[in-house]
Amino acid sequence: MSILKGKKVVIIGDRDGIPGPAIEECVKTAGGEAVFSATECFV
């Protein structure tokens, strides 16, 4: 998980996959900084 440590992360979540806020939580615990997070809908 150290690959995200100290990194700035742009998150595009999928409404029917993993949404942005859920990825954001993972990024935070992995030491990354979420600079942008959004969830998109393709259906």
Binding site: R15, D16, P19, P21, A22, T39, C41, F42, V43
Partner: protein, 515 residues
């Protein structure tokens, strides 16, 4: 006593020219990249009406093929044409030209005009439609000259109406400066209203209800109607009920993105169970903006653009008749503000928690209706098989909860799930496409309990980052009608009262003795 579902209708409209003219993917592309290859290639990938009729998921939507029959056909489905029938037991697939007349009928403010010879050519067929009444036909205008159409499109910001690539009409703006009454918004709203009207006509026909007996209509589409002072003022419901001839009905709009239909169904069931209204119709028309939404990927993969259908549906919820499938208001799932957004948290709140509260296991529900998007549309676009992903998550929760052995995961998906068949029209595929088949499955004894799940992407409105969703159960009728008999709930209530009285009498006797 629980309310019941008396019947449902499902309609599609084939709108090939609207894909090109009105789909947001295409309108955006024309602004940012007007010379793009995509726009040049697109017309070659548009299906004919006959091709759209002969597409198995479309025939499934209107009831000519069951979800189980569809699942037996190997994907993809678009290259396996089937027998194309216009009408099915749930509704129909209306061609674009007739739908334009229905849109004009739905315009009560003289904002939509069709060309004279176009009207003359289509009206005779329109008049013969089995559900189009003389009152509706009387609303068809004679039409205008071609020069007027061209002038309004060129000079007055009117939205063009095309058929076969030819300009046959226009929708004009309803106000000079109010963007909420722009030609674009009015056209989108007329499409939604007209497809809702078509669904209403079919549900009245399918259920045999007298139009005057409908008390209330709830619209659950994803459009908004209003002006600059009340952008989402609303009441598509009452507007559609007027054209459909439901003269005794009032109504309102319920919104929740794709979860709207499930919210509306729970509202309708509660209104009827409470005795507020006897007969409530939940209805929704379709969405022009979503036409060709994934068109770029379809064209890239040399497929037909499958998002060429505007959808609609209606469900009649009525007082318990002792026969029809019931909506169980006691088992409703809801994604709460504090639930969280991970897929596990979402499905737990919608499936696991309400079932646990009711003392049921995940495996006690025979069929789950989730987001029933057609995978033929979503897989080539990289969005995967949406229903399958939902079923896997429900199965995984069942394993985690000890309701299911891990080895039974795939079998659970097969037995309790379905392949998606609905067009990607947002609210249209969200749980509700199964209600028609569900009623048949329950009445035939194939299914005892089914769960309908609606999920909504609230974050798209930029007012919250929250997700949303609600679920409800449709089950066998307890065979007690509203008019007579005693329900299971009433029996439980009577026993509970007797026990309380007995306990009180014991307590009273004890008190007497201790004195």
């Amino acid at each position: 006593m629980n309310s019941v579902i008396k019947g449902a209708s499902y309609v599609l409209v084939h709108t090939p020219d609207m894909v090109v003219e009105n789909g947001s993917t295409q309108t955006t592309e024309r602004i940012v990249n007007p010379e793009s290859d995509y726009l040049k290639q697109l017309p070659k990938h548009i299906r004919s009406y006959e091709q759209a009729l002969g597409y198995l998921p479309n025939q499934t939507y209107i009831g000519n093929c069951t979800p189980d029959e569809l699942a037996k056909v190997e994907q993809p489905w678009y290259d396996k044409p089937c027998e194309g029938k216009r009408f099915g037991k749930f509704g129909e697939i209306m061609p674009q030209e007739e739908f334009y007349l229905l849109m004009q009928v739905c315009d009560v403010f003289d904002l939509m005009y069709l060309e004279k010879s176009f009207v003359a050519a289509v009206k005779p067929t329109f008049e013969k439609h089995p559900l189009i009444t003389p009152e509706i036909v009387a609303r068809v205008h004679e039409g205008v000259e071609q020069e007027q159409i061209e002038a309004f499109v060129k000079e007055e910001h009117a939205e063009p109406i095309l058929h076969g690539g030819k300009l046959v009409g226009y929708v004009k703006r309803a106000h000079d400066v109010d963007v909420n009454l722009s030609a674009h918004v009015i056209l989108e709203n007329l499409v939604s209203k007209a497809s809702s009207v078509l669904s209403l006509l079919h549900v009245v026909h399918n259920t045999g209800i007298d139009k005057g007996d409908v008390d209330y209509v709830i619209d659950c589409c994803e459009e908004a109607c209003g002006d600059m002072n009340q952008r989402g003022g609303g009441n598509f419901a009452k507007a559609a009920a007027e054209i459909a001839g439901l003269t005794g009905a009032s109504g309102c709009d319920v919104r929740g993105f794709c979860a709207g239909p499930s919210h509306a169904m729970i509202t309708a069931a509660s209104l009827v169970k409470a005795g507020t209204y006897r007969n409530v119709i939940v209805t929704a028309g379709g969405c022009t903006a979503k036409l060709g939404m994934n068109g770029k990927d379809h064209v890239k993969k040399d497929m037909p653009v499958l998002e060429d259908m505007v959808g609609g549906f209606s469900v009649l919820v009525s007082q318990n008749d002792g026969i029809s499938p019931e909506i169980n208001n006691g088992i409703c799932g809801r994604h709460a503000v504090g639930t969280g957004s991970s897929p596990q948290a979402v499905i737990s709140s919608l499936v696991l928690e309400p079932l646990q509260k009711a003392g049921l296991k995940i495996t006690d529900i025979d069929r789950y209706a989730v987001e029933m998007q057609n995978p033929d549309i979503t897989k080539p676009a990289g969005a995967g098989d949406v229903p399958l992903a939902n079923y896997k998550m429900i199965a995984a929760l069942a394993v985690k909860n000890g309701d299911l052995e891990r080895a039974g995961l795939n079998a659970f998906v097969q037995e309790h799930g379905m392949a998606g068949w609905a067009p990607t029209q947002g609210h249209i595929p969200s749980g509700v496409p199964y209600i028609g088949f569900c009623c048949e499955d329950i009445l035939a004894g194939r299914v005892k309990k089914a769960m309908i799940i609606g999920k909504g992407s609230l974050f798209l409105g930029r007012m919250t980052n929250l997700f949303d969703g609600v679920s409800f159960i449709i089950q066998e009728n307890s065979h007690e009608s509203e008019e007579g008999g005693v329900s299971e709930g009433q029996v439980k209530s009577l026993i509970a009262k007797a026990m309380r009285d007995f306990a009180l009498s014991l307590g009273a006797a004890g008190t007497e003795e201790s004195r």
